[in-house]
Every structure is written in structure tokens, then in C-alpha cells.
Symmetry: C2
Subunit: 248 residues, 2 copies
Amino acid sequence: MDTVTGIFDNIKAIQIDNPADKIISQLKQLVTSGQLKPGDRLPPERVLSERFGVGRSYVREAIMKLEFYGLLKTSPQSGTYVAGYGIKILDSMISDIIKINKNDFGALIEARYYMELNSAKLAAERRSDNDILEIKSAINDYNEKIDKDLEAVEEDMLFHIKVAKATKNSAIESMILILAPDIIRYKIETDVCKRDLEKMAVQQHQDILDAIIARDAKAAQKAMAAHLAKILEASTKHFLNNTDDLEY
Amino acid sequence: MDTVTGIFDNIKAIQIDNPADKIISQLKQLVTSGQLKPGDRLPPERVLSERFGVGRSYVREAIMKLEFYGLLKTSPQSGTYVAGYGIKILDSMISDIIKINKNDFGALIEARYYMELNSAKLAAERRSDNDILEIKSAINDYNEKIDKDLEAVEEDMLFHIKVAKATKNSAIESMILILAPDIIRYKIETDVCKRDLEKMAVQQHQDILDAIIARDAKAAQKAMAAHLAKILEASTKHFLNNTDDLEY
DNA sequence: AACCAATTTTTGGTCAACCAATTTTTGGGT
DNA sequence: ACCCAAAAATTGGTTGACCAAAAATTGGTT
């Protein structure tokens, strides 16, 4: 036995969590325990870092994260304040923030599916002429790749992003954007887009575009549903789903 | 003239943007100019901070942000790498990330509307018995506040969050969560929820719950649409909307 | 020439010190 | 007692320095 590493091999795995997330947990506890009430000012960053036994960087990171979700508001030379939301909702939201970005693919694909249905619908209602041009361009890029028998996952995603842009709703656009990378990763990893499916997509994209051009919201939604049906079906088997009813 | 401040009053206002966002812009330029190709390793943080003339903290903040959206991946003692996505989509996504979180309320409310319709539907399909209990509890909290003639914006939001939890889809839950604070702010600022609307909500919440208990997806969706109709209508006047078709 | 172990360098991770603006305290003047 | 300006303390903002781990280099052995 030249080394003793074998014994400790599976020790280090614990404590993988980001320090910032642990700080968020601690802050949550401060809120739930009543030590930190809505509207209160947080202790100074220095105090927090000392009390939590961690560098100030992590405290700031945690605060930034919480601020991103609207739970904290920090004013430059004044302090950081808790949103005036009420303890119950604060508690609930902090809990969810911690487990955010640990989504399973099934949930991601499904969320995207519903999001995109609405995206297509609203795009059809509100698209400008320039939107049409951009979507056409994205379709062309996709088709070129397919013609050359190349992978075109990103070009497909870009098409969807352009459609989302046409909705003129920045919130919806942002959401589809947030989902995009995971979707791409999923598609590539699971090879859910077989060659024949990609060929079919050429026509499906065109159908969606045609409906958007015609400002036919219902047709656009239906075409999008058809386009996404396969990937939804393949990825949400763990949900008790019934995809045959398409009227959302 | 005791002071000369008057002259400089409107000088400082420029340069309001977060330094991190400017770094993201610069990184975007590196990508578009071809100096940084997909899959490449970024220059070390120190180099970037020097080249951009800014502290390393901001570089790290920008990288963290980009990493959150899946565009970068940083490995502890190795380096930060660009996602292998293709220049066009990278460019498009970075652009959108910069303008994220600057959503107008109209977009927010609308996005939430569609999200919640699906939330209600999926909740009806997948709710557990415990979900029912939690939703009931949220409804009770809301009703108590209303009975006492108190504001109950947060309690209402909590109801919606509980419904979202019942979907068992963490992605959808997260999205509703992200939208929640802005919605609350909007409601409070615009006083869109008049007293009579809040009274109506008591019954509407119950309708939604009943549909969820009955596992009637369509009814749940419809009830949710009715519940959100007013606020949607009030906030999306700048969109050319037709809210009378409820089949999403 | 090829391989491998020891060493050096480079990397992101972490922390502590400094800065400017704000707020609070102080103390002299009225 | 009150007021107001000056100084001290406190705040988040910003920067640079140190750490351990990983990668690259080196140099000797086969």
C-alpha cells in the first residue's frame, strides 16, 4: 500500500454548493427566524462576511443574486434593504432561487414548448415586415446547413429566437433566450434530432413563417406545436402527458 | 454666486451602465470580430481586466452573468471557455442578455399571463394531494386579509406560486417566480387591483382550486384566464391585443 | 527518441485593504 | 437651547494581493 488515497476518495464530494448559495440559505434563515423583517436594512457586508465566516466577495455575490430576483435592493453608500414583501412569500421565493438553474431537461423542454406556442401566436399578431426578413434569413441559414448535410441545431434555435423577437415582448424573448442553451445542449447530447426530423423541420419552419406572414395566429401556433411535438414527446415521458390536445 | 455646482449638475449622469454590462459588450465585440471563436478559451481574467481598464471583480461579474446564461463555462484552475454555439447565435444571445431585466411592465404582465395559463393546466393534471393543501392554505391567507379589508397583493402572488409548484415543472415554477416581484411592484404602483377586483378574486381562486382538485385542466386554464383577464387588459393596451379568445 | 516525475508557471478562487460618498457625531457660535 | 458647519465613522464600490490546484515546462532516465 503505497498511498492511502483510496480511503478518502469519496470524502471531498460533500460541500459542493456554491458559497454564495449557502449565504442565501443563511439569509433565508434570518428572514424566517424573524431577525430580518421585510423592509429592514441588512447588516453591513463586512459584518455578514464575518458572521458567516466567509469573504466579502461571496456576500456580495449572494446579495447580487438576490437583488437580481428583486428580493434585495442595495443603495450605494447607504445599505442593502430587504424587499417589503411579507415573510411567507420571501421565504418561498428564496427557497426557489436556491434551487433555480438545477432544472431537469424534461421541465426545460416542456416550458419551452408552451412558451414557443405563445411566441408563435404573438409573432403572427405583431410581426413587422423586418421581422419577416430576419426570420427568412434564419430559415435560409438553416436550410443551407441541412442541404450540406451538416448539423444545424443552432440555426434552428436562431430561428426560434427571431420568432420570439417578432412578438415585441421582451420578457417572452428573454425567457426563450434563457432556455435556449439548455435546449441546444439537450438536443446535442440526446441526438433527439435525427436526420429525417431535421429535413421535416425545413417545411415546418416555412409553415410557421407563412402563418406569421399571413398574421394567422392560430395557424402559427398550430404549426409551432407540430414542429415541437416530437421533441416534447421524447423528453417528457416522466410526466403523465397527453400531447394530443393542442389547444393552448 | 456662492457655489459653482449649478454648472456641473447634469454632468455626472452619463456612464450609468453597470461596468459588468460594458464588459459583456466588449466580449460580444471580441466574438463578432472573430478574435474569440466558439470553444475558445478566454484570456485570463487578469488580462481582460487590464485590457478593459477595469478591476477584476467586474470581469468576474460579467463572466458569472454570461455563465448563468450558458454562454461561458469556467473551470476552476484552468480557464473560462466560450460555448461552442456558433458566432451568429452567440452574438444574438449576448445582445439580448445585455438588455435583459429592462423589461417593460406590459411585457411582464403578458408573459406572466400566458405562463400562468399553462401553470394552471399542468397543475390540474399533476397536482398531488399535498399541493391541494398548500394552495388551500394560500387561499385562506388571502381571504383573511381581504376580510380585514387589508391589502393582499403578496398573498395573491403566493397563491399563484403554489399553483406553479403543483405543476411539478421546476422551469415553469422558476419563471413565474422571476416575474413575481415585478408583478407585485406593478400592482402596487398602479393600483390596478381595486377593492372590488380583490373581492372577486376570492371566488376566482376557489374556482381555480376546484378545477385543479377535479383534475380538469381545461377548466383550470379557463378559470385562471378569467382571473388574470382584467390585469392583462389594463396593462397591454400598447399591444394590439384581442383577449376575447381564450383557447391557449 | 520517448517517457515520466519534479518543478515552475498560470489559472480561477478567495480575501483583505483602500476609496469616495454618505451619514452621523461633534463642538463652537448665536 | 438651537443651529449649522466641520470632522469622524460607516457604507457599498473598487482594487490589488495571496492561495491552491491545474497545466506547462523541464530535465533526467530508459
